[in-house]
Amino acid sequence: MPLVTPWSRFVQRQADSAAWQRWTCLGLLAPTALVAATTDAGFLANLLLIIVSALAADAIAAWLRGISPGAVLADYSALSFALMFALTLAAEAPWWLGMSGAVFGLFIAKQAFGGHGEYLFQPLAAAYVFTRLGFPEFSGPSLMDTATAALCADIPATALIALALLTGALPLLILKAVDWRIPGVVFLTLILSLALSRSIDPPLWAFNTIIFTAQPSLLLVILFVATDPVTSPVTARGRSLFALLIALPMAVGAWTVDLTTAMAIVLLANFLTPLIDLMCRPRIFGHQNRGSVFLD
């Protein structure tokens, strides 16, 4: 019997997860273009290799699992992973580093855990930490942060890239593909801790902290990596708690927090997501208890 499901004409916006991923890829095009404009052709070559190896890794993993590779690639998650991953690479990364990171991230951190929607750790964060900690000789600051050329007037390239990331994340927030609470709580906590420290330190420190928060690499983490719905809790309260768990170490670390530290913080928070989900269950209508996946 063919499974026929009626589309909904009554729900205001019929959401589509593949469309969300496509918006993510679209939103990442501008930062990628800006980064490409500030570096040499090596970056584009690296990007191409990463894209190819990401798609291949996903497809091969799907084939090994017995699922149609076309279906797995059709959700565009490998492509968005590749685009984000390329942005996080250091300048001195060789051609094989990006490819091995992509294979690790998709093959092991994503497909081995069960595929899209079933992974515990955000694949990008896992792949990034793998390349940085596994090959420390190639760990410099990412290309986004070291873009020194001024692209137009006196605005530094990093500011433009940060702006591009913000605008790229906007469609996702509007479509509710990602929950606004996660970046919202993170920024709020950072600003509050900034306000707290402002009363202690001279005002110039505040300015530096804003500059620090607006680093493109941190924005990438807060807007694209931490907000991944698969690895964040499913309730609103849970997400706020999750965001707090990410923001507090960042606030405490202040400007010692770089991209690697931020990714590691996200990974730790991912690890705690099931626990947060367990603690923040909604109370079932008409009952005193909350719906649990455990028998008690």
Partner: protein, 527 residues
């Protein structure tokens, strides 16, 4: 489990976002424009009577009989099944029973000639006020009035259950929060007096302290009609905002009175009783005019050339006949949806008929169908389903548990409280067929409960067997038993019996050896 919260004033008119549910765009305008249309009676009606308590229906007619309009066709033994009446003068052409669906179908061939010869079951009443509540309930039971809200429970059965408890508030549900069904609204616009009459009768029959008619804000013409009909009466008109699924009785009560009742429990436990507005109308017809329930209003919708309308349809009308009369294209038979897009089912049996549970019929547009060969996507934990669920369940966890067939997890997560509103299904960005999964989950739970009951039954029998064996061991050999063993009165000789047994055993051994040769294993198998 019932939780009484303080009355939430906000719940009456304000934000429902925290309580789940959604505001849906409605497509009822086209159908409502035409009012209630009637259709010519079809040439054949198929009335279905389900088995009751594992027994086939007890029929009062047989094939070849001529029946008159309103004549009773089936007999019932208790209140939980309503009798079936003939909607028109007809001949009983055939009676068939389907053992698989456990239903008896009576095929009636309509007689065009004596359309007007009626068979009254009961004389009309001018004033039901002289009857007691029990007498009114009995009259409703005799005339077979069933609920028209979708579940089809006989009204008398519900009233009998309510009699054991004190009903504080009777609610006549005219909310109809489905975005594409407008049958109740069309009926109220034209027949509000009968609805109010039915409300009064039901209040008397259930001895409810208060009575109210709940309706949603956007049904302006219906509200005006009800206001006119309610003038001077002490029945309240309760107006709710337009929100899905406020039509569901548990959510309705919470919105009106702030009392939470679990959907898996009955609202009667909290002192509420709820009937659909169309049911109230049918009750008024039954009690006042003595007419049994033979028809209902069905919302028909679909793409052109179908004309969307609310049609008064006799029970037993084939659904596809109804759709063709409204102008549908027969080539679209495999895209018929019953009871709306949110809670409805795709019609698999194209010969299905209209019964009391069919509120709306819709033909899906080609653009409305998700591709059937699309491979299933993964749940990405986006949480849209959790925020949409009006019962605060976690549909994504329920989905995973249904897929794993984990009945314990399903029970712990509260699948029994799911009201099947379909919101999670519609908002899911991965287009997961969540309602279908939950249906499979419910079936699993039912099967598991069935196997647990079976196991309990077997355990009891085993314990009885053990007890009996123990008693037998302890009991000394009785004289009678010894006598029986040496009884020579039987013609059966021991020696000849032994010979026969030996012969049979030899046959069996030969057969077993044969089979062992064939299969190479000594294990016996069935044929």
């Amino acid at each position: 489990m019932i939780v009484n919260k303080r009355l939430l004033l906000r719940a009456k008119h304000g934000a429902f976002s925290r309580a789940g549910g959604m505001k849906l765009t409605s497509t009822k305008a086209a159908a409502l424009r035409c009012g209630i249309s009637s259709m010519p009676p079809p040439p054949r009606l198929f009335l279905e009577v389900a088995d009751h308590r594992s027994r086939p229906a007890a029929l009062l007619v047989k094939a070849g009989d001529k029946v008159r309009k309103f004549q009773q066709l089936s007999r019932t033994v208790d209140l939980s099944q309503a009798p079936v009446f003939s909607p028109l003068s007809a001949t009983v052409a055939a009676i068939s029973r389907d053992a698989h669906t456990r239903r008896t179908t009576i095929r009636l061939d309509i007689l065009a000639s004596d359309e007007n010869a009626e068979s009254e079951t009961l004389p009309p009443l001018t004033d039901y006020g002289s009857l007691t509540a029990a007498q009114i309930t009995e009259r409703i039971a005799i005339l077979g009035v069933s609920g028209l809200g979708g579940r089809g429970m006989p009204v008398a059965h519900k009233l009998a259950a309510a009699k054991k408890r004190r009903v504080q508030q009777l609610i006549i549900n005219a909310v109809e929060s489905d975005p594409d069904i407008s049958a109740d609204e069309a009926m109220i616009r034209e027949r509000s007096k009968a609805v109010v009459e039915g409300a009064r009768i039901l209040q008397r029959a259930s001895s409810a302290e208060r009575c109210g008619i709940a309706i949603s804000k956007e049904k302006k013409a219906a509200i005006a009609a009800l206001r006119a009909a309610l003038a001077g009466s002490d029945i309240e008109l309760l107006i709710l905002p337009t929100h899905y699924p406020l039509g569901e009785e548990h959510r309705l009560i919470y919105a009106l009175f702030g009392t939470e009742t679990a959907p898996s429990a009955s609202i009667l436990d909290a002192g509420f009783l709820c009937f659909n507005a169309a049911t109230a109308h049918a009750v008024a017809l039954a009690v006042n005019r003595g007419e049994p329930m033979i028809s209902r209003i069905v919302s028909v919708d679909g793409p052109t050339p179908l004309r969307p309308q609310n049609c008064e349809v006799l029970f037993g009308t084939p659904i596809w006949h109804l759709l063709e009369v409204c102008g549908a294209d027969p080539a679209q038979k495999d895209r018929t949806l019953i009871n709306g897009s949110m809670r409805g089912q795709l019609l698999e049996n194209t010969q299905a008929v209209v019964h009391s549970g069919v509120r709306g019929v819709r033909i899906l547009d080609a653009s409305e169908l998700l591709q059937s060969d699309e491979l299933e996507r993964n749940c990405i934990n986006c949480g849209h389903c959790v925020s949409a669920c009006p019962v605060n369940l976690q549909p994504q966890a329920l989905f995973r548990a249904s897929r794993a067939r984990d009945t314990f997890q399903l029970a712990a997560l509260g699948l029994e409280d799911c009201i099947d509103c379909g919101l999670c299904d519609q908002v899911c960005p991965s287009h997961l067929p969540l309602r279908d999964y939950f249906g499979a989950g419910r079936s699993e739970m039912r099967l598991w409960q069935g196997s647990v009951d079976r196991a309990d039954h077997f355990r009891n029998r085993f314990d009885a067997h053990q007890a009996r064996a123990e008693r037998k061991l302890r009991r000394p050999q009785s004289v009678a038993l010894a006598a029986r063993q040496s009884d020579s009165k039987t013609e059966f000789s021991r020696t000849s019996a032994k010979a026969e047994i030996a012969a049979a055993v030899a046959r069996v051994k030969a057969r077993r050896a044969e089979r062992a040769e064939d299969q190479g294993s000594p294990r016996k198998d069935d044929d």
